[in-house]
Subunit: 358 residues, 2 copies
DNA sequence: CCAGCGGATGATAGCGCTACCATACGCGAT
DNA sequence: ATCGCGTATGGTAGCGCTATCATCCGCTGG
């Protein structure tokens, strides 16, 4: 006969400890952590309290083993600015690590391939992952969302401009963020302000432009159509837009670009024209990607808290997949996060103006 | 009494099937897959064959559960070009997914913080991860490698210029790659060729420059010191270098930049000077990051197979951690991968030259 | 010839959790 | 009262693997 052996240092809290503390069986605890329904409200609360008190975290490996299934979520991307993609990757990776789920990253190309191809890909995706994270511009691609809906994969849109109907969404208030940045520029003393729009197919673009216009109106600063240029979030489009803006008869003293890539382009063009940033021209961006601190001067921009947003998106997705497994229907959520104005070196009061700080 | 219940569809190959086929106990199989030493060579081979024949893949969840430890590897980065970082992230994520290990990504800043701070961070890192992946420029940062050595964490350098002594390394032959690209440009008919160097602190820079010079020499094309500009892999440095090169009395007809970021900068400067790429100036990059296809015209560049390289690096790291656990010493490996010349639109024969294709 | 030893292999008990079934407990219908 | 039925909870057998110990075997030295 052999005496039993403890294999673990028992450092971690396990499900039976929680069960014991809550005075229930470990199955009940399992049901609670998995969101099963057949648990009385009072019991559930007792268990939840025990979980909190012991700071219990289910062991993902054990879960995966017992349930023969790991939580796998896919992050789709398309046509990304490298800066934005790495930001997103970093954020979701973090969030995935925290929840112990696995992240599968895939490029999604060919919303053009016709509905059939999209549907085939979506079917494959449904096999590979339990849920899908959709950053822009994918969250607003009709063929994709339709195909995904077709195969019943839960989705969460991340950083969309507006909540997509029928899909959970994690985002900031783009309109207000643009409003804040514009107001900041006005406070610095700017009156002649240029704006570069984003991709017209993304709702965030319109939101940001609206925020800009309203801030102008709110401050009584005249709006000049000639100082608005079209763009599509790409560096290249920013180049064109900046040339257009800086060739105007009366040049704006500040340019607010709808993302960092285009702001970068503005700086390039300005420097080529021997304009000093920020002395002769202030430049503001949006997103606070890695690039914002790579360029010189470093970009004043709006920061989206991508990491917390990703975490929330993942949590939402996990919740949705769970509900789906139990055949409960989930109604979409729309979570708003706070943006942050990051002041760096690319913005200053206009030449000869005394800054009018409030 | 209750009759036993099969819980799994038994779709996957498990360790006992392998054991049965090899005619050994499942423990022996486990020993083989974990690289333990006390297995006779003949037995090991029998087991390996069974593994191959059944295409057995150990279940990472079960492993993690039984061994009370998941394979966690850290990817450190610093001061990255966004393009390069996302490329790396995508590659390692892929590799990690394949081996079922977890990826922890951390920014490493402050090799400047003095040795003590670095050592403290390294200690923390040793707790968080079993091994560390070191992309450039970190793999050549003395304080870091020393600190890591101090806490005995296995490391693998990825995409370094030269093998770091005492550390495994996965890379391409930078010298040969640069040689190939230069030869390609010469074949197109270029004789006046500019070069932008990379960060002098990274061995890849010297390698690439050497490849450039030797290709010139091999083809009997004269080397002109005036057409070489310093850079540090950043877009900004590329801008400066390009201005310098394009302001020369006799302009080069082609510029080979040591990475894509700087090549991008060359294109920007060229366009600002009303030079058409590739008609008036050919531009070549290195790395084939996302950016290469984002700019216009798309970049002719050298592709490092980052994804396979990352996989190999992870495999090497996992092997090293295993050996470390068993107190075996591992000798560093140096794995070379094949690069690939990617021809896109930024290079063409020089004006008025009849291309001399071999 | 046998004790003693070390290397190779096997048997078994977990690892922490969930799937599956069993059980307990109302509560309205008969 | 009895039965049936549905809801809340418990018991237990795995999930696929590794740690630990037991066993077996061939060899050396006394």
């Amino acid at each position: 006969m052999r005496k039993p052996v403890r294999r673990r240092a028992a450092a971690l809290v396990t499900i039976d400890q929680v069960a014991h503390r809550a005075g229930v069986s470990l199955m009940t605890v399992s049901r609670v952590t998995n969101g099963h329904e057949c648990v009385r409200e009072r019991t559930r609360e007792r268990v939840m309290r025990a979980i909190r008190e012991l700071n219990y975290k289910p062991n993902p490996a054990a879960r995966a083993l017992a349930a023969a299934r790991a939580d796998r979520i896919a992050l789709l991307y398309a046509n990304p600015s490298a800066g934005y993609l790495s930001e997103l990757l970093l954020g979701t990776l973090d969030g995935a690590g925290l929840t112990g789920c696995q992240l599968v990253v895939q490029k999604w190309e060919g919303a053009d391939g016709g509905g059939e191809r999209a549907r085939a890909r979506a079917r494959q995706l449904a096999r590979d992952a339990d849920g899908v994270l959709l950053p822009p511009p994918l969250c607003e691609s009709q063929p994709l969302t339709a195909a995904l809906e077709g195969v019943q994969v839960p989705c969460v849109a991340i950083a969309a401009g507006l909540a997509t109907p029928g899909m959970s969404c994690v985002r900031i208030d783009n309109r207000r963020a643009a409003h804040d940045m514009t107001t900041h520029l006005i406070r610095l003393g700017h009156r002649a302000m240029g704006f570069i729009k984003g991709d017209p197919n993304q709702s965030a673009s319109a939101q940001r432009f609206e925020g800009f216009r309203h801030a102008l109106a709110d401050a009584g600063v005249p709006f000049n159509e000639a100082w608005v240029a079209a763009g599509d979030f790409s560096y290249r489009s920013g180049l064109r837009a900046a040339e257009h803006l800086l060739a105007a008869r009366i040049r704006p003293t500040a340019i607010f670009a709808s993302n960092d890539d285009m702001a970068h382009a503005v700086i390039s063009v300005a420097q080529r024209r021997r304009l000093s940033v920020p002395r002769d021209l202030s430049v503001a961006g949006f997103d606070d990607t890695l690039m914002a601190t790579t360029v010189f001067p470093e970009l004043t921009t709006v920061r989206q808290p991508i990491a917390p947003m990703s975490q929330e998106a993942i949590a939402l997705l996990l919740e949705a997949t769970r509900r789906k497994r139990l055949n409960l229907d989930a109604e979409p959520e729309d979570r708003l996060f706070e943006h942050e104005l990051i002041e760096r070196d690319s913005c200053a009061p206009p030449r000869g103006a005394s800054s009018a700080t409030s």
